[in-house]
C-alpha cells in the first residue's frame, strides 16, 4: 500500500477536490483505494466523494474520530473497520474499489463532542508512544485488512500535530498544494523543508514531495523572490518534466468552470463533457503521483482530449454553407454509452464515447476511442451488430498523435467502408442529404440537389468557386484545392440540370453576383480581399450568367425579384452574357435610366428653390422605375396568346375587323376553354406545328414594346407535349428567343441609341408580323447563346422547335457560317432606324 497525503499550508486550494478525483481515478482504473479524512478540524471529504448522500453516509458509519477514540489507548479487540468506512460506487466500467473513512458525522454536534474527547485522549507526544501508535495502528490495519493499493489522506491545513504526523510519518508521498502568492509559497517552503528533514521510521523510504500550484487563475507574482521560492520547491520536490531539455516545472492546476467552480469529482471519467483544463491537469499530475497508473492516466488524458476535441467540433457551428453544416445539438450527442447490438444481431455490447442520434433518437454515428489495437473488433461490432451509418475511430500513436478513421456505409448497405473524410466530420443534415455520408463528392451532392435538398447548393457553389479559380489566393480565406476547371464544369452542368424549383432558386441566389456570403449574413464587400472584384466578375460571368439561361424559367424569375440591397439586379449578369459577349451591345439599364432622368430633368422647369434636390429626386424616381421594369420584365401568363385569339375570332367570324383587345373581349371565353381543354389545344398546336407556325413571338410568348416578355405557359406545355419536348427546356428556349429580341431592341449601342428596328409589331391586326430578317438574326444570336451555354437539352429543344417554326426561325444553321463580328454588323444595321441614321424626323420637316 502506498500512502499519499494531500497537504496545504493554507486552506481553500482545492486539496480535498484533488484527493477525491485521485481516489475515483485510481478506483476506476482497477486499484483499491481508501480515502482517509484526517482534517478533523474541518472535515469535508465525505461531501466531495459522497456527493448528495454525504450526510446519509456519515449517519450510518462512525469515522476516524470515533475509531481513534476507541483505540487511543490500544485495544486487543478494536472495532471493525467496516463500521467506520463507507464503500463508494465506482464509475461504470471501473474495476477497482473505493472506501472512505470520513472524519465522522460532521458537521453534527455529536461529531464535535467526539472530536473534543479525542483531543483529551489522543496525545501524539505521549512518551509511551501510545498516541502515535494509535494512528500508526489505524494505517497499518487498513493496509492489513482492506489491502488497498493506495491510502489517500486528507491532511489538516497549517501546522498541526496530526497534519505533521500524516505528512512526515504516515505518507510515502506528500502533495503540497499552494496558491500563487508569497504568503502561501513561504509557508509551503517552510513545511516542505521540514518534511524533507523529518526523521522517518526504520522501514520507510525517504519522503517524496510533489509541490502543486493550485487555482492558477491568479497571476503569480512576477518577482525574483517568488521565482526563487518556486525553484527551491522544485529542488526539494518533484516537478513536471519540462519540454525538451529544460528544467522541470511545477504542476499547475487551473481553476475552471467545469470542475473547479462546481467542485465536481470526475476522476477516471471517460465522458468528454467531464474534460476540462483542470481535469487535464489532474491527469497529468496523476501520471506523476501514481507511476503504476501512469500509462492508463496518459491514455485517459489522450482519450478525453481526443473525444472532447471531436465533441467540440461536432457541436461547433461552421461559418459556411448555412444549414448544411449546422452542428449537432448537445441533446443529440450522448456520452459514454454502452451500446447493445441491434435485435437479432447478437448479444454483445460495446462502449462508445459519443453517440450522435437523429431527432427520432436513431443512432447515426458513433465515436470510439480505440486504446489498444482493437480497431477490427470495433469495426466488426459497429458494422455487423448495429445500424449506425458512420463510425469514427480515434487512436493515438506512439507519439501521442491522434489518428482519425471514418467508416461509413450507405443507407441500405451492410458493410462499413473506409472513408476519405478524416477531419471533416459529418453533420446531422448530411445524414438526410447523402446516401453515404462518407461520399461528399460532387456527384453525391448533386444527387442531393436532385432530391430537393437545398442545403447542398451552397456547398456546390463553393466547390465550383474553389475549382474554377486558378489561384488559391483569389479565394476567400485562400482555401480549396488546385485549379480544376473540368470539375467546375461538372458542377455547373449538374446545377444547371436541377429541376427542383426551390433548389434552382437557391442556386441562383448563391451564385448571384453582388457577393452574398451567407456565412457572414451580410453583404460581402469586394474590397475586403484583394481579388474580390475578380472573384465577383468570374462568379457573375461564369456561373450565374450560364445558370440564368439554363435553369428553369420560374426560378430565373424569382432571381429577378428585389433583393436585400437596393439596386441589386443579379439578372443583369445573365442579360450581359447575351448582350455584351455575343451581341456586342452594352447593356446597362441603370445607366440608361440615369441618362433619361437627366434629359427629363433638363426639360422640366425648376419648381422650387431646392432645384438640386428636386433634380436628384426625379432622377431617383426614374432609376427606380427602370429597376421595377427590370424586375417585372418577364411574366408567366395563363392567358391566351394573340395568335390563338386571332385564330379563334376568325373561326367565329371570318371577316371580323377590330383590335386585339376587341378580339380578346369577343372570344376570350372560348380561348380560355381552348386552353383548358388539353386535347383541343394540342390538336390546334399539332396542326400549327405541321404548318410550321409555332412562332415564339405571338404564340408561345410575346415581347411587347413596353419591355415586357410574356411566356404563355399552357401553350408552351401543350406544344412540348406535341413535339415530345421537355416543357422546362421549351420555356427556356422561348425565353431565350424573346430575351434576345428584347435586348436587340432595348440595349443601347455606343451612340446611345436603342435598336428601334427591333421594336415589336403593334399587333393591331392579325397579319402583323415581325421582319423575317430580324427573326433570323434573333434566332442566330439565340443559337449562339445556346451553343455558348453548351447545354445539350437546350440545343436539342431549340433545334427541334425550329423545325416547326416559320422559315426565318430555322435559318440559324446557315447563320452559323458567319463570324460573330459579321453577325454583330448585321445586327447593328437591322437595329438602325430613322433616328439612328440621323435622318430628319417629321418634327424637323415641319
Amino acid at each position: 500500500m502506498e500512502t499519499v497525503a494531500f497537504y496545504s499550508y493554507k486552506g481553500g486550494v482545492g486539496r480535498s477536490l484533488l484527493l477525491a478525483n485521485a481516489a475515483r481515478f485510481l478506483a476506476t482504473l482497477g486499484k483499491g483505494v481508501v480515502a482517509l479524512d484526517l482534517d478533523f478540524e474541518a472535515p469535508g471529504l465525505h461531501y466531495k466523494l459522497g456527493g448528495a448522500q454525504s450526510s446519509d453516509l456519515t449517519s450510518r458509519v462512525g469515522g476516524a474520530v470515533p475509531y481513534l477514540i476507541a483505540t487511543a489507548e490500544g485495544s486487543t479487540s478494536p472495532p471493525p473497520l467496516e463500521a467506520h468506512t463507507i464503500s463508494l460506487p465506482v464509475p461504470a466500467g471501473g474495476d477497482g474499489w473505493l472506501r472512505l473513512m470520513p472524519a465522522g458525522p460532521a458537521p453534527h454536534q455529536k461529531y464535535w463532542a467526539a472530536f473534543k474527547e479525542l483531543g483529551e485522549r489522543l496525545r501524539l507526544g505521549d512518551p509511551s508512544g501510545q498516541g502515535l501508535m494509535a494512528v500508526l495502528d489505524l494505517q497499518a490495519r487498513i493496509a492489513d485488512e482492506l489491502k488497498p493499493d493506495y491510502l489517500l489522506i486528507d491532511a489538516r491545513t497549517g501546522v498541526t500535530e496530526l497534519g505533521g504526523l500524516a505528512t512526515t510519518i504516515l505518507a510515502d508521498t506528500v502533495v503540497c498544494m499552494f496558491v500563487a502568492n508569497q504568503e502561501s509559497l513561504d509557508g509551503t517552503l517552510t513545511v516542505v523543508e521540514a518534511l524533507k528533514a523529518a526523521p522517518r521510521l526504520a522501514n520507510q523510504k525517504p519522503i517524496r514531495v510533489v509541490p502543486v500550484l493550485a487555482r492558477t487563475t491568479a497571476k503569480p507574482p512576477d518577482d525574483e523572490r517568488f521565482a526563487t521560492g518556486v525553484r527551491r520547491l522544485l529542488e526539494m520536490g518533484q516537478g513536471k518534466k519540462g519540454e525538451g531539455k529544460s528544467e522541470p516545472t511545477l504542476f499547475a492546476l487551473p481553476h475552471d468552470e467545469v470542475l473547479g467552480a462546481p467542485e465536481r469529482v470526475v476522476g477516471g471519467e471517460r465522458k468528454a463533457s467531464a474534460f476540462s483544463p483542470l481535469y487535464a491537469a489532474y491527469l497529468e499530475l496523476f501520471q506523476k503521483l501514481f507511476p503504476s497508473r501512469s500509462e492508463p492516466a496518459r491514455q485517459v488524458l489522450e482519450r478525453l482530449k481526443a473525444v472532447a476535441d471531436v465533441r467540440r467540433e461536432l457541436t461547433s457551428a461552421r461559418l459556411e454553407f448555412g444549414e448544411l453544416f449546422s452542428p449537432w445539438s448537445a441533446s443529440a450527442i450522448q456520452e459514454g454509452v454502452l451500446c447493445k447490438a441491434a435485435p437479432h444481431r447478437g448479444k454483445e455490447s460495446r462502449y462508445a464515447d459519443l453517440v450522435c442520434s437523429s431527432e427520432t433518437g436513431q443512432p447515426l454515428m458513433v465515436v470510439e476511442y480505440v486504446a489498444d489495437a482493437t480497431e477490427d473488433q470495433a469495426l466488426e461490432f459497429w458494422g455487423k451488430s448495429t445500424n449506425v451509418r458512420c463510425v469514427l475511430l480515434l487512436a493515438s500513436d506512439q507519439r501521442g498523435y491522434v489518428k482519425r478513421q471514418i467508416f461509413t456505409r450507405g443507407i441500405d448497405a451492410r458493410e462499413l467502408h473506409s472513408s476519405d473524410r478524416q477531419w471533416d466530420l459529418p453533420r446531422p443534415r448530411e445524414f438526410e442529404l447523402l446516401r453515404d455520408v462518407g461520399d461528399r463528392s460532387v456527384e453525391s451532392m448533386l444527387d442531393a440537389v436532385r432530391h430537393g435538398h437545398v442545403e447542398a447548393v451552397a456547398w456546390l457553389v463553393n466547390e465550383w468557386r474553389d475549382s474554377s479559380l486558378p489561384v488559391a489566393e483569389m479565394r476567400p480565406f485562400h482555401r480549396g484545392g488546385p485549379w480544376r476547371p473540368e470539375r467546375a464544369q461538372r458542377i455547373l452542368d449538374g446545377l444547371a440540370a436541377t429541376e427542383d424549383l426551390r433548389c434552382a432558386e437557391e442556386i441562383l441566389r448563391r451564385a448571384a453576383p453582388g457577393g452574398y456570403y451567407p456565412w457572414r449574413g451580410e453583404r460581402h464587400f469586394r474590397e475586403d480581399w484583394l481579388f474580390g472584384e475578380e472573384l465577383e466578375r468570374r462568379m457573375a460571368d461564369d456561373l450565374f450568367a450560364p445558370l440564368f439561361w439554363r435553369l428553369p424559367v420560374e426560378a430565373v424569375l424569382k432571381s429577378m425579384e428585389p433583393r436585400h440591397f437596393p439596386g441589386e439586379v443579379p439578372s443583369l449578369a445573365g442579360y450581359r452574357l447575351l448582350a455584351h459577349e455575343l451581341m456586342g451591345l452594352p447593356y446597362d439599364p441603370n445607366r440608361s435610366a440615369a441618362e433619361e432622368a437627366r434629359l427629363l430633368a433638363a426639360r422640366l422647369p425648376a419648381s422650387d428653390e431646392h432645384r438640386d434636390d428636386a433634380e436628384d429626386e426625379r432622377a431617383l424616381m426614374w432609376l427606380h422605375r427602370s429597376r421595377e421594369e427590370q424586375v417585372e420584365r418577364v411574366r408567366l401568363s395563363d392567358e391566351a396568346p394573340p395568335a390563338l385569339i386571332w385564330e379563334e375570332v376568325f373561326r367565329k367570324e371570318p371577316f371580323w375587323r377590330g383590335t386585339l383587345d376587341e378580339a380578346r373581349e369577343k372570344v376570350g371565353e372560348q380561348a380560355k376553354k381552348l386552353l383548358e381543354s388539353n386535347v383541343s389545344l394540342r390538336s390546334r398546336l399539332r396542326a400549327r406545328a405541321e404548318r410550321r407556325e409555332l412562332a415564339a413571338q405571338g404564340l408561345l410568348g410575346t415581347y411587347e414594346g413596353s419591355g415586357r416578355i410574356e411566356l404563355y405557359l399552357p401553350v408552351i406545355t401543350a406544344a412540348a407535349e406535341v413535339l415530345s419536348l421537355s416543357p422546362r427546356y421549351l420555356k427556356s428556349v422561348v425565353f431565350i428567343h424573346l430575351s434576345t429580341w428584347a435586348l436587340a431592341h432595348e440595349a443601347r449601342d455606343l451612340d446611345g441609341q436603342r435598336g428601334y428596328g427591333f421594336a415589336p409589331s403593334p399587333r393591331t391586326g392579325p397579319f402583323d408580323r415581325e421582319s423575317p430578317a430580324h427573326v433570323t438574326l434573333v434566332q442566330a444570336f439565340a443559337d449562339r447563346l445556346i451553343r455558348r451555354l453548351n447545354d445539350a437539352n437546350l440545343q436539342a429543344t431549340f433545334e427541334q422547335l425550329s423545325k416547326h417554326q416559320p422559315g426565318p426561325y430555322s435559318r440559324w444553321g446557315a447563320m452559323r457560317k458567319l463570324p460573330l463580328e459579321k453577325l454583330r454588323m448585321l445586327l447593328l444595321t437591322a437595329r438602325a432606324s430613322a433616328p439612328a441614321l440621323g435622318l430628319p424626323s417629321a418634327n424637323d420637316v415641319q
Partner: protein, 145 residues
Amino acid sequence: MQQNGKSVETDTLNSLVTGAIWRAEQLEAHGIGSAPQAWSEVSSLEEELAKVISVSESEGRIARRGAVRAALKAGEYARAHALAGSYAAEGAAPGSLKAGLRKILEEDARAMERRFRYAAKQHSLREARDLARRFREAGAFGLAA
C-alpha cells in the same frame, strides 16, 4: 524510636498501599475512568515505601517494583521509566531487582504492542517513542526545534 517510628510509618504506608491497590483494581475492573489516578496514587505510596525500606530487604524490592508497575498502569510512562532507572542505579540493588524492573517495562511494552498489534507488525515501539519525544520537544513538523 527511629526504628519504631519507621515501623509505624511502614505499617501505615503498607496499609494505605493495600487499600489503594484494592481501590485501583476495583475501579479498573469496573471500567471507571479514574482508575489511572488510583494507580498513580498506588505508585506514589509504593515510592514512599521504597524510600523507607532498603533495597536489601525483600519488602523494599517489592515496593520498588510496585511503584514502577503502578506508574505504568497509571499511564505515567515517563515516571515509571525514571523510577526504574533510579532503583536500578541504587548501589545495593541486587541483580534480581534490576531484572525484575526490566521485565516489568518489557511486559508493558509487549502489552502495548498487543494493543496496537497492526502497528507493531511494521514499526518498533522504541521508534514510536522516539518520534513521540520529538513531537513533544520540537512540535509538529519539528518546526519548534
